[in-house]
Assembly symmetry: C2
Homo-oligomer: 193 residues x 2
């Protein structure tokens, strides 16, 4: 997505060699038209896969996920950060480690909204180490549903997320692949045409 790359170049802020701040259009302030086009692009990539649910994780995943779900005309489901007091038997859980924050949090999806007939497209704003998407895939497995793919807005290709997801058998589609944040600038992966 050229529009997305141009946005990353124009508004992304390189904090250090691992952290790219995109809270001007993706993580805090959100470019709504861009998210519409992000959703449409995921739709075009996965439209023949019989998707029945789009699954993401609160909060930054919701905007691209709801836009994708609108194009698929299926529900969008977001995993909630669970607090111990809200844990019930009638839900699926996964532990997700954040390397940025160095914390592990539990997320949950109610078992009312995911079952063995579901074909799930996982969507997230960022792919770094892959823990969020792997956690969501664990939830899909608990429901005996199937993950048909993972759609990522911005992939940090210099981190192991993609390799870990592919090793788990997941098809990964990233709309923008960042090869490096060295030298205080964003270098994209050169795509073969």
């Amino acid at each position: 997505m050229d529009l997305l790359k141009r946005k990353v170049e124009a508004d992304g802020v390189v904090i250090d060699e691992k952290i790219l701040k995109v809270d001007g259009f993706l993580n805090h302030q959100i470019d709504a038209k861009l998210m519409h086009d992000v959703g449409l692009t995921f739709y075009n990539q996965f439209k023949d896969e019989g998707v029945t649910k789009v699954l993401t994780i609160e909060a930054s995943g919701i905007a691209p996920a709801i836009m994708a779900a609108m194009h698929f005309d299926v529900p969008c489901l977001f995993a909630k950060k669970a607090k111990p007091s809200t844990l019930t038997k009638e839900a699926y859980y996964a532990d997700i480690h954040s390397f940025t924050k160095n914390t592990t949090s539990t997320v949950m999806v109610s078992d009312e909204f995911l079952d063995k007939n579901d074909r799930v497209l996982i969507i997230d704003d960022f792919l770094a180490n892959g823990d969020a998407s792997l956690g969501l895939n664990e939830i899909v497995k608990q429901a005996n549903a199937e993950t048909i793919g993972v759609g990522i807005v911005v992939e940090k290709s210099f981190q192991p997320g993609r390799a870990r997801l592919e090793k788990a058998g997941l098809k990964v589609s990233s709309l923008c692949k960042v090869a490096s944040l060295s030298g205080n600038k964003v270098t994209f992966v050169e795509e073969q045409s």
Copy 2:
């Protein structure tokens, strides 16, 4: 919005006289097409107000807010639940009390994304006591911006939120007004035609 009322009637679950669970289409699983129409309805209501930003609060407000922002063709901004470690000078803060959870949390918006030229439409999924919208309005005031209105998906009209917002000078538009949850059923406010 008749479609929204029918959805509340069909899929809303009355937990007690104060709590209506709508996580089948609004708070956990989200009906994307319905959110598209919710966003369009807010657009039609406020399109002559010169809206420059749609402001909401993570996580359940994001879906209706991003859909409204798409129709206005303006950015969607969501207030983040702040942790003490993330507090910086370059942000606006508000404390928001949750009566349901009996907790007070601090939310923040970076000062990069809101200034005195902004005309802000606040959007939230629920209006009960009004604390979330009042907190967002405090953030707008700190930025010397102007709140031109508050758009609510589901209003619990038997709670004091609307009166408190109107007392603060805010125009409130709710797409669905619940008069009562007594007798284990949803009764809507009868609208004057």
